[in-house]
Amino acid sequence: MPSANWTRATLALQLLAIDPALGGMRVRARSGPVRDQLMQWVDPNARKLHPAISDDALFGGLDLSATLATGHVVQEQGLLATPGALILTMAERVSTALAARLALTLDRSKIHSLIALDEGTAPDEMLNPKLAERLAFDADLSDIGIHDTGPSECPDLAAAQHRLPTVTHDPDILLQIATIAAQCGIDSVRAPLFTLRAALAHAALSGHVSVTSADLEIACALTLAHRATQFPDTPAEEVPEPDAPPADTRSDRDDPNTPDLPDDLLLDAVKALLPDNLLERLAAQKARKGRGNGTGAARKGNRRGRPLSSRAGKICDGARIDIISTLRAAAPLQTIRKHASGRDGLHIRPADIRLKRFEERSDRLLIFAVDASGSAALSRLAEAKGAVELLLAQAYARRDHVALVAFRGTKAELLLPPTRSLVQTKRRLAALPGGGGTPLAAGMVTAFDQATQARRRGLTPTIAILTDGRANIALDGTANRKLAATDAQHIARVLRSQGIDALVIDTGNRPEPALRALAATLNAPYLPLPRADAQRLSQSVAAVLGD
């Protein structure tokens, strides 16, 4: 007996075959018999894309070998030139650039449908949201075993496709769809459009002349459930809508012509599919904001990369030809080729083409935000300085940059701008004054500024905060313990939302609960290190940073 989940997935694929303008479907499943079984429903002529596909392969381009062979320009046809289904494997690894291109294709032409096979295992490893937004359906097959799948008996899709343009719909269902989408907290207007299309396609599939309540119910369940951002428990009238003016639409709801199907039924169809851990998942998604997707760490260098020796390769988009090496490779063979072809001029064959290569590596910036206030200031600063110097001593091997921010009195100060120079560091850090209050928030703001600047230059910043945690100076410089703590928490949230990695080191004699809370807000490791010396400090930092 096929499970409900499975039936929905196969139904979605059928609707997609009827109306490709539905965009596509994300299938979250590991590769295996279940997924293979599902793929039997997809058009066997569907073409496969992979995350590293080049623009030439997608959009077409110059066919170099044919051009060279025939002597005139031959264009190659891209995968997107012909209509049909596309299967995107390893969809969780799609780069933003490819996602943008595919999104553009789906937006512009309504002839392609995309099946994105998302094999992500971790919750934050998933299809690029930009692309997911443009796919009407979503199926999670992780919990389905092979015994849950059903036989593949395919209804007559061609006939349904033929019927599709004649299917009509009651204009009132637009209001119903919009209401349900609003109740589920779906902001995008693409979602309700997909619902309408899916309802039309389902009506065509079941041979209805006009969209029935059953069609609409299934369409809502298929297109809206996975996009929901809130439980639609509260009736629409009470859903808080901060920006909306008191809409005059509400009155329409009591209209005597309200369609035959109460919204509740539709809503139940969606609600039944909402995962129990919806809120947790949303929280996880929020935490991910500003970070990358599952494509792996970006290898952005602050220098344009070290040139490596060129190598033989095919011209594709993004590659630069090393003309000199190409000519050098072709040169010895010129006479032979001239004799063979009887043609004058330069003879270059595909095998001669050499491409330039660059190696780029991301550098790391470690920003120490050090508490230079009060009693323990002098020793703490000394140890921080020691740790900075120890870390810098290994900088050449580890490609780290280091910056030092000290906060005391009422404000924070950038003592050492990001640098790799040990000499400069020693000179700058020679005299460091201490004493005064603890403006933790100000220190974090300065560190944050450095981090954003560094990120723009292609560095990967990490902030290490060294303090004993009793913030007592607020951002505006007043001595207000409570406000100071609120400010620190606030900046911590900003840091987290920007996805900047951090590390909180508590140098107090006893662990400070306020600091632990701060670390939790930052989503950062918390290290209580009373009486830490420079050696232990640099070791702990290195251990947390993971190398």
Binding site: A21, D55, L62, L64, T67, L68, G71, H72, V73, A97, L98, A100, R101, L104, D107, R108, K110, P129, K130, E133, P171, L174, L175, I177, A178, T179, A181, A182, D187, S188, V189, R190, A191, P192, L193, L196, A236, E241, D243, A247, D248, T249, D252, G290, D317, G318, R320, I321, I323, L346, I348, V445, F448, R456, G458, L475, D487, H490, I491, V494
Partner: protein
């Protein structure tokens, strides 16, 4: 498929207004649209092309020159015939290579004929028109550097692989993106004249209207286009009228004072803020068919001209748009 008509976009008035202002006065310097997914950003930009009045250009000129002396010699053009052509709106895809943006050695010709020829890139095609970058905040750094330089100088210089080519590249930058996915460098941000923030419509009536129009666009295309293309044409005519009105518009000394006081109070970096605000306010006045610049125009143009020029305050969660409006209320009270 023809793009969705500009005038049929429901709501998003600020975004539409900003685009119309740059169409009236191209020297305002472009629009940046930031917002969530599915709010009609890309739809609006793609619809913009249909809205722009056509330009006169020499037939076959790779940089759309209007006068024969401006046609670059590498184009090797022998005709001087002018023809009317739509204002170019060129898409700069993410991950476009440097070669494709600036132009490079024409590999086809180099390989097949052994000739050294220049193949113009996107910047050449965008000259005298619009350059649209979707997901501008995800653009690679080296492409951004290149764009900044060209947008500054209005000229594209290509020195590579034995070629030495320069050609004019004056274009209006239009960018869109989702701020959650990445930030824009302040230098690039500054190059955009206007910036708008769009959000999904929250009330159900608007959303129903969006669905209705989209449905009609897809299923009853001919009738839908007939109706809305007429509206688009009306906007186009109004843009042309406004362009003429702009030359007659008077700018009182008092308005200049207001603009300067506003920018000072907001602490926007540099003088670009003042200049853009003035231009935008003037274009807005021309659009409204008024004869003199007043405070009402400045007030309307201030948020979009200044929003992105403020120093970021990590503690202000309200967003810079609200800050601008607050200061405008104080200064122009």
């Amino acid at each position: 498929m023809t793009p969705f008509p500009f005038s049929a976009i429901v709501g998003q008035d600020e975004m539409k207004q900003a685009m119309i202002l740059t169409a009236i006065d191209a020297s305002i310097g472009g629009v940046l649209v930031f917002g969530d997914r599915g709010t009609g950003k890309s739809t609006a930009v793609r619809a913009l092309a249909a809205l722009l009045p056509p330009i006169n250009a020499i037939k076959g000129c790779p940089v759309n020159s209007e006068r024969a002396e401006n046609v670059p010699d590498w184009a090797m053009l022998d005709t001087k015939a002018l023809h009317e052509t739509p204002t170019p709106v060129v898409d700069l895809p993410l991950g476009a290579t440097e070669d494709r943006v600036t132009g490079a050695l024409d590999i086809e010709k180099a390989l097949t004929k052994g000739e050294k020829a220049f193949q113009p890139g996107l910047l050449a095609r965008a000259n005298r028109g619009y350059l649209y970058i979707d997901e501008v905040n995800l653009l690679e750094d080296h492409i951004v550097d290149l764009l900044l330089d060209v947008a500054q100088s209005g000229e594209n210089v290509v020195e590579r692989e034995g070629l030495s080519i320069r050609h004019p590249a004056r274009f209006v930058l239009v960018g869109s993106g989702n701020p959650e996915e990445g930030e824009l460098r302040p230098q690039l941000l500054d190059r955009f004249g206007l910036s708008v923030e769009v959000a999904s419509p929250k009330d159900i009536a608007t959303r129903v209207e969006v669905m209705k129009r989209r449905d009609a666009f897809e299923n009853d295309n001919a009738a839908f286009m007939l109706r809305w293309q007429a509206e688009d044409a009306a906007i186009r005519d109004r843009i042309l009228t406004a362009r003429k009105a702009l030359t007659r518009l008077t700018t009182p000394e008092k308005a200049l004072h207001d603009v300067a006081a506003l920018c000072l109070a907001l602490g926007s970096d540099g003088l670009r803020g003042e200049l853009t605000l003035l231009k935008a306010a003037r274009a807005f006045a021309a659009w409204r068919d008024d004869t003199a610049l007043t405070r009402a125009h400045i007030r309307a143009a201030a948020p979009m001209a200044l929003r992105h020029r403020l120093r970021r305050d990590p503690l202000d969660e309200a967003g810079s748009g609200t800050r601008v409006i607050r200061v405008v209320e104080e200064v122009l009270a």
